[in-house]
Symmetry: C2
Subunit: 645 residues, 2 copies
């Protein structure tokens, strides 16, 4: 019985590309575990070098460097067993060894060692090295590129003409005279329900239990997304149901921040022990933080209830931690200049920066032109005062003049739209990016997801920056997060309430509506609240198309599907089929036409299940009007009004 093993879960901060730092951290936790008489300490997947290393995995020398740390960990395994994730490379390209791309075959592997030697399996197979097991299931959706880099255990089985079960065997951990079989998995191996062989899910857990595993450990590098821990609970329950018998199931995940260039991805830990019923019973109490969880025989394995998450709170924490722990991108002590327009988006970003880094690290810059109202200028100043940050006002009219002059040397006037862009580029490229270079600070892209979708910002203007903190939040979520921060984080009005709409995105007389203020009386063309929900559907993991939206409209359940009230539809005149169509087509076409801008956007902190960046991969393509679209359009044009079901 594994109850006799004291197992520790090392929920550690994994810093990609810094193996020395990570291994020192592991050695410290190993020492601490030894002091607590732990028998087996388990660390996350790819904890030595990081999981999101991009094409560094294609450089053999890089991988060999990461593997070189295995020696140190082997030496540290006296009087303890250690399991952790690292790359395993077989450098040969001969015989069974080449990868599918002809390069070195590389495994995303779990290493198991004890007392200075690699742990043996219940049943060795003569194919895999002792103490090393590759990941079986490789995620290749969203921002995951596992198939690009790694050769799976399933592929090994195919190559050698073996059953998977011939290669999947628990590792033996010694305790006194006993040798206790522990099954090891890596991350996706537990999300097996859609990977299929012989008409059944490829249930790694079941194979390991059948091969004698007395406990299962799953080592993960599982990025945070909202409610994922709850989803994982359901998946473990599913494994229990599929497996017949079940054993204790230890899930260890990392914390920290990694990136793939286009997205910043956060890890919240959430390490959990499940009992033989597949119910969560011991939860890490430290979300987003390191936690050494020691589970000994005195622990209670009674089921516990996982608290239901709060969307905005979790997304706030993702952005907060994504900023705070992003030293790979922003260095160890980053400072910021931020353009403060007096609008809601830049106000939220400035507040997030202050919360993550401190008020002395942030300088607000207001850059008024003739179009900026006293109201927005006042709001920017009020925010800066509320946050206690340094605040500069740099009027741009002189630069607008000299820029306009040079652009009209051909004798032809600039259009009003050209002049809008001129202003935005002066603010972004001429002032903010140069100021940030002068001070060695960073500046931010303050766009939200709706703006990024619609390209509603100026390339080389407010589209620029080192990072896009709220680029995966809809405008509704931006407003919600402002409320959350005022109410729950500060407990007082920091972000001016005059920027915050009511539930139907209406503003009072004294308030400030969203506006770019690049010409007179400009108001954003978005139908906030409604467009936010549309965008969520279009960019969901299961992507809804314009045809789906139109079908819902015809069926009269659009409001239900989007989770909005009929009052919101009336507020934006979407009950009028012609306005619905005009707007929807504009919305959808505009998103497609602005891929070229997203190609040049800075990294976005991921907070949804489908973020622009590297999660959504876009070719620059024309808008395609399908036959189904045309048929639906005709139908809707013939409608008098939206008929709610």
């Amino acid at each position: 019985m594994t109850d006799t093993l004291t197992i520790a879960l090392g929920q550690m901060d994994v810093v990609p590309g810094r193996p020395r730092l990570n291994v020192d951290n592991m050695l410290r936790m190993i020492q601490e575990a030894k002091e607590q008489s732990v028998d087996l300490i388990c660390f996350p997947e790819m904890c030595v070098g990081g999981y999101l290393l991009g094409d560094k995995f294609l450089e053999d020398a890089y991988c060999e460097e990461l593997m070189s740390y295995n020696e140190e960990l082997l030496a540290a395994s006296n009087d303890i067993a250690i399991a952790y994730g690292n790359i395993y490379v077989n450098g040969s390209t001969e015989g069974h060894h080449p990868n599918k791309d002809g390069r070195s075959r590389k495994y995303n592997a779990v290493y198991v060692m004890q007392n200075g030697t690699y742990a043996e399996r219940v049943q060795e197979n003569g194919i895999l090295p002792t103490g090393v097991q590759p990941k079986t299931l490789l995620p290749n959706y969203r921002f995951f590129d596992d198939e690009r880099y790694f050769f799976s255990l399933y592929d090994v089985a195919i190559d050698y003409g073996k059953d998977l079960s011939a290669l999947l065997s628990p590792f033996l951990i010694s305790k006194g005279d006993q040798r206790i079989p522990i099954g090891m998995e890596l991350c996706e191996d537990l999300w097996c329900h859609d990977y299929r062989a012989d008409g059944e899910p490829i249930n790694i857990t079941k194979i390991l239990i059948a091969a004698g595993a007395e406990s299962i450990v799953n080592l993960s590098a599982s990025p945070w997304t909202f409610m994922k821990n709850n989803a994982r609970d359901r998946r473990v329950k599913y494994l229990r149901e599929q497996s017949g018998s079940f054993v204790k199931y230890y899930y260890v995940n990392c914390v920290g921040v990694q990136n793939n260039g286009k997205n910043v991805i956060t890890f919240d830990g959430g390490s959990t022990v499940y009992n033989e019923e597949g119910d969560p019973c011991i939860l890490s109490k430290k979300g987003w933080e390191e936690d050494l969880m020691v589970i000994d025989e005195k622990a209670s394995f009674l089921p516990t209830k996982r608290p239901r998450g709060n969307t905005i709170r979790e997304k706030y924490l993702a952005i907060f931690n994504g900023l705070k722990n992003s030293s790979n991108m922003l260095g160890d002590d980053p400072h910021f200049v931020i353009g403060l327009s007096g609008g809601i988006d830049s106000s939220l970003v400035a507040t997030l920066l202050v919360l993550a880094f401190g008020k002395e690290k942030v300088v607000g810059v207001n850059m008024p032109s003739q179009y900026n109202s006293d109201k927005t200028k006042g709001a920017a100043k009020a925010l800066a005062e509320n946050l206690g940050i340094e605040y500069l006002v740099l009027p741009i009219e002189d630069m607008v003049k000299s820029n306009t002059h040079i652009l009209q040397l051909d004798g032809k006037p600039l259009s009003e739209f050209n002049l809008e862009n001129v202003q935005a580029k002066i603010r972004g490229a001429s002032i903010l990016s140069n100021l940030s270079a002068k001070y060695r600070y960073f500046f931010t892209n303050n766009g939200n997801k709706v703006e990024i979708a619609l390209g509603y910002a100026t390339l080389y203007g407010d589209w620029g920056g080192a990072i896009t903190p709220i680029g995966d939040l809809t405008k509704t979520e931006v407003a919600d997060m402002c409320h959350y921060i005022n109410d729950e984080v500060f407990g007082k009005e920091i972000i001016p309430e005059l920027l915050l709409p009511d539930a139907l995105w209406r503003f009072g007389e004294a308030q400030i509506q969203p506006t770019a203020e690049l010409k007179s009386n400009q108001v954003d063309p978005m139908k906030f609240g409604y467009h936010c929900k549309l965008l969520e559907e279009i960019t969901n993991f299961r992507k809804k198309s314009i045809e789906d939206i139109m079908t819902w409209y015809v069926e009269g359940n659009l409001h239900e599907k989007l989770g909005i009230g009929l009052d919101m539809m009336l507020r934006w005149h979407i009950d009028d089929p012609k306005e619905f169509l005009r707007d929807l087509e504009w919305f959808y076409d505009t998103i497609q036409k602005n891929v070229f801008k997203r190609v040049q956007s800075p990294p976005i902190i991921l907070t949804s299940k489908s973020s622009y960046g590297y999660d959504i991969r876009e070719s620059i393509l024309p808008v395609l009007k399908t036959k189904k679209f045309k048929a639906l359009k005709e139908r809707i044009m013939a409608m008098d009004t939206y008929m709610a079901k």
Copy 2:
């Protein structure tokens, strides 16, 4: 015997996202083939909608629209057989159907039809639909993301617990009373040597021949890379050697341009018929152009020699066609404003634009500051005159003054480096991007691959643009292409010779060395010629690391490995170990530190086997100095001089 079938290869221009256009093109070719009594006409992989559609493949409505064209093609198949590539979706997520990501299972498929019905197989399997065969091998390296979108035939075999051979069966094409079995493959299916099962390559061709195929057709969407047609010849020969017996092998590829947002990828056709010996015997004579090749029984199947390519000529054609046929990105009648500095890179880009679009579509803009010499200004003007394009001179000093003024309102002076960036941003963001918006033109990023690697350009300045035509050429290739264009395309000096170095990258007194001219007496810090070759190794398909370069230095074969002379090493003082190390470390570290810029770069036309963009995927990571690096560094520091072996 298949000799009795007259087969046509429809080497067509595939425009991604425009199925109506593509299908009309196919219908036209089908009609033409009928007039020439063709029995079977074959079109490329994914020719209905395009191959590089990004996440459009995740939208069911988009895929259904592409599939809706199957009806039209079926109707057009009276009196002829048709084979072509298109998506196949089984929308159900029940039973065997979900994809590994839980979404709809989608196939990159070949459709085969004749006389209004889908073609039957020699042996139907009860699993796959009649007339439809999924791609077996899915490339998932470089810019290929097949595993992200498609479910392979191999995965189907696994899911149903079948041998692959049970699902791979030739299609029967009727001619008179005969039914002739033709084996169908898709693209990667022929590059099978590194995909393995049971210790052997997964040889689809062999399986199809064993199942009775009297000919094989391979439908491809195979991007151009240098010498790929020659590599393909070797692979077909390999298939012949591996397969025991062999049959005639028809390879049809598309032409045209597709993109994935970050890279523009060109297709050169190269459709080829191979004889029973696996030797190429009939080659498309139309590189990069549409070609309807009709191969009847009178054709000669004697082996022919494929002309060896000329690197610079092929790369020139890739860029020329990549620009000319890039309507998805640039629209149907694009015009350009291009910044002409009087340097070699912008001169080449301007010349390429004129060649691709015509001189009346290009406006050159010289934007001098106090640092620009009469020599470079003269070179820019001379180029514009040689090309016959409109030419503007817009001095930037006034804007530099007003920008400097606003940036020094804090009383602190800008550094010399800050002032350099200020100038570049005025040129790129304030002038070129606004001028292009004013005229509804495009502007270009004129950087070469060495600059893009080193980040040697200013973000929101010369880093911007709609497309990066020469972003995958090293500086040496830039110079080579200038010579090629002067000598072979124009037959006279269009690009001023005073910009072109000798073979050791030396310039005469009267010539112009590469310089950004952002401060006095500035000269580019690159060791051209040598750095170009270093970069080629580092970004090759088989990526060499800094440790490899150092090892070659120690071994005395660096010059051989890089293919440069010792004179080039002396010219850049690389024979001095300390200078070699200083420079190499700077070069390598600088590349790593500039990932953040590449994240925000415009699309690059791909001309190498590893282009920045989406071909090389980079996380923003710190520089990692490996133990091997440190040991090698110590060794090299102890050397007196480079010792050529």
